[in-house]
């Protein structure tokens, strides 16, 4: 994985140690994801407080059905697995396999978004109907924004993993690893969101 870089390192190593350091881009990304997770934590805390303190007013409708979100949970969990497959294939230098798995992942992401929009259109309440409706749309919407960004990034890296002329190879796995980490994070958030919003 580091053949190219380590050869450079040997050449320069005698001159100056501080020119080289380990790759901490993933570390930076993890720090960012912690921050991003805290935004969700704030939303969850608000939602749970509302549930504990603010009763649903008379006549207000806030009912959720399980089939679509359950399907969405399964879609995202599978997409995490397919993304993992893409990473493994690239490690074995199989770029076209990797690209295929990435496209499968992106398709699952798009399917998730379509289901989400379908659910939005079939819910018996709108954004401003009541407090819980607003919180529901804010939470799922903010998560959906993350899925949208993730899907776009997956499409970009799947283009960049093409066999000829792609910039992502098994010597330059960082973009794929970074998006993979982000995608697992978004999946994890969805699982928490599913439990808190739909099951509790």
């Amino acid at each position: 994985m580091t053949t190219l870089d380590s050869s450079k390192e040997i050449k320069k190593d005698n001159n100056d140690v501080s020119e080289h350091h380990e790759d901490f881009r993933i570390f930076g990304l993890i720090t960012f994801l912690v921050a991003d997770g805290m935004t969700f934590a704030g939303f969850f805390a608000a939602y749970l407080t509302y549930k504990a303190v603010n009763p649903l007013p008379d006549g207000a409708i806030y009912e959720l059905e399980l089939p679509i979100p359950t399907l969405n949970t399964i879609l995202l969990l599978i997409s995490s697995a397919t993304f993992h497959k893409a990473g493994k294939s690239l490690q074995k230098n199989k770029n076209s396999d990797s690209q295929k798995w990435l496209i499968v992942t992106a398709t699952l992401g798009i399917a998730f978004l379509i289901c989400q929009i379908f659910e939005y259109f079939n819910l018996p309440f709108g954004l401003t109907d009541n407090l819980f409706a607003s919180t529901f749309y804010a939470l799922t919407g903010f998560h959906g924004l993350h899925v949208t960004l993730g899907t776009l990034m997956i499409l970009i890296i799947s283009w960049q993993t093409r066999s000829k002329g792609g910039r992502i190879t098994n010597q330059n796995m960082f973009p794929l690893e970074a998006v993979e980490l982000y995608w697992h994070f978004v999946d994890g958030i969805w699982v928490i969101l599913f439990i808190i919003l739909y099951l509790l």
Partner: protein, 541 residues
Amino acid sequence: MTISIDSQDSNTKSLQPKGWLRYLSFSLDHKVIGIQYLVCGFLFYLIGGTLASAIRIELASPMSDFMPRDVYNQVLTLHGTIMIFLWIVPVVNGAFGNYLIPFYVGARDMAFPRLNAVAFWLIPPSGLMLVASYFIEGAAQAGWTAYPPLSITTPQSGQIIWIMSVLLLGGSSIFGGINFIATIIKLRRPGLKLMQLPMYCWAMLGTSLLVVLSTPVLAGTLILLSFDIVAHTGFFNPVLGGNVVVYQHLFWFYSHPAVYIMVLPAFGLVSEILPVHSRKPLFGYTTMVFSIMGIVVLGLVVWAHHMFTSGTPPWMRLFFTIATAFIAVPTGIKFFNWVATLWGGKISINSAMLFSCGFIINFVFGGITGVALAQVPFDIHVHDTYFVVAHFHYIVYGGTVFIIFSSIYHWFPKVTGKLMSEKLGIIHFAITFIGFNLCFAPQHWLGLNGMPRRVAEYDPQFQFVNQISSIGALLMAISTIPFLINIFLSIKDGKNSGDNPWNALTPEWLTSSPPPVENWKGEAPLVEEPYGYGKPISKEN
């Protein structure tokens, strides 16, 4: 996996403008970015200071005769927001952090130089946007806390611009925080252990953890608030079934740690300055480190002490009172360590030292009123009065701003290679110290006697004390003049300082002043004892 410094980086660097023009460019050099933060922050400080003067002029008389009430509210909101988000947070974190941390860890730059430049360049546009909102339909009027329902019912355009501006500044702060954590944890020169780092690194590590953990919560909250304003949802609007107290909880989950985001770096900076000017090792290094980390942990679980009058249940009051009182322990340890550092030292009375000592005096006073405010019965009595105003100005101005000035006097020779005038520096200190205490000490009395804050008018019986306070504010405004003259004269024809005018041992002084582009001519020095004063090693230097 290892990576080497991108060759593109050095190409871009050579293409960038030389001289003062590089301070207006998208520079990736941490030293340039540090100065950008400092100068940009100082310009906003002048704006915020002008607004503060306007407030004090208004309060010199009991009626709102200098400006209308709604303008007063706008001025007050802008003053708070500018001072916190555009002056103190960027300067005490961004400016000194960017300038010093790479030296302290023995690196040539920050971990993510491009992210660093992006973080800085988010600040001027969002600051200008915030100031400009005054001229559109009036700036936000709900104070820097933007409590709903006030922030929902006041004119919308100003409040929305305020939210967008604070979101951008929060983003800048988070990017900076990520960068500092990565630099301190991952970019240390080989052989340099965590417990050998100068104290400012520890302070910045703690601060950055707070930034990363708490700022996103504020961002989420402000997004919900903007939904309430624009889309008429009811998250925080009781009329629509929402809950205002949830906003307060989420807001203070950021904004109490924000106090530590403003003051922890100052703790770090004063721990750098005192040993150098008293020629003694920093007292109690290990306890200092654990105190900082203790403050970080406790700082995250005390937010509701701002909300004792918001219908908090008794168990919550009890918990937050005790947790808040506990913060006095690590803070007290730090205070005694600083005094013990000075004890028996060979103290040089110069501007940097004077401002640091001023910090210690003011800060302990602000700390004592802080412990008092943590007690529920007392807090309910003085809630939303001038006592609170006095308390937090003793922390953020008497504490942090004094240290910003102290640091400027201390590191000016590092940045420019020239000495500042001590005469003007001492005049600056004297006027600032007298003006500051004259301005804010009487406000404790005003608060105890029930003068509410954030109101343009007050009971005429308070006029005399308010006028004393206004005279103090006038002195504070005047104190900026000798400082600015000093800066300009010293840059133009200050005495040559040499590389290390203070004979300091921390790593930033072991290179030339001003430092070369990538900090060190050769390899970065390994400084195992940054405070080894009075030992054989300091004789060699």
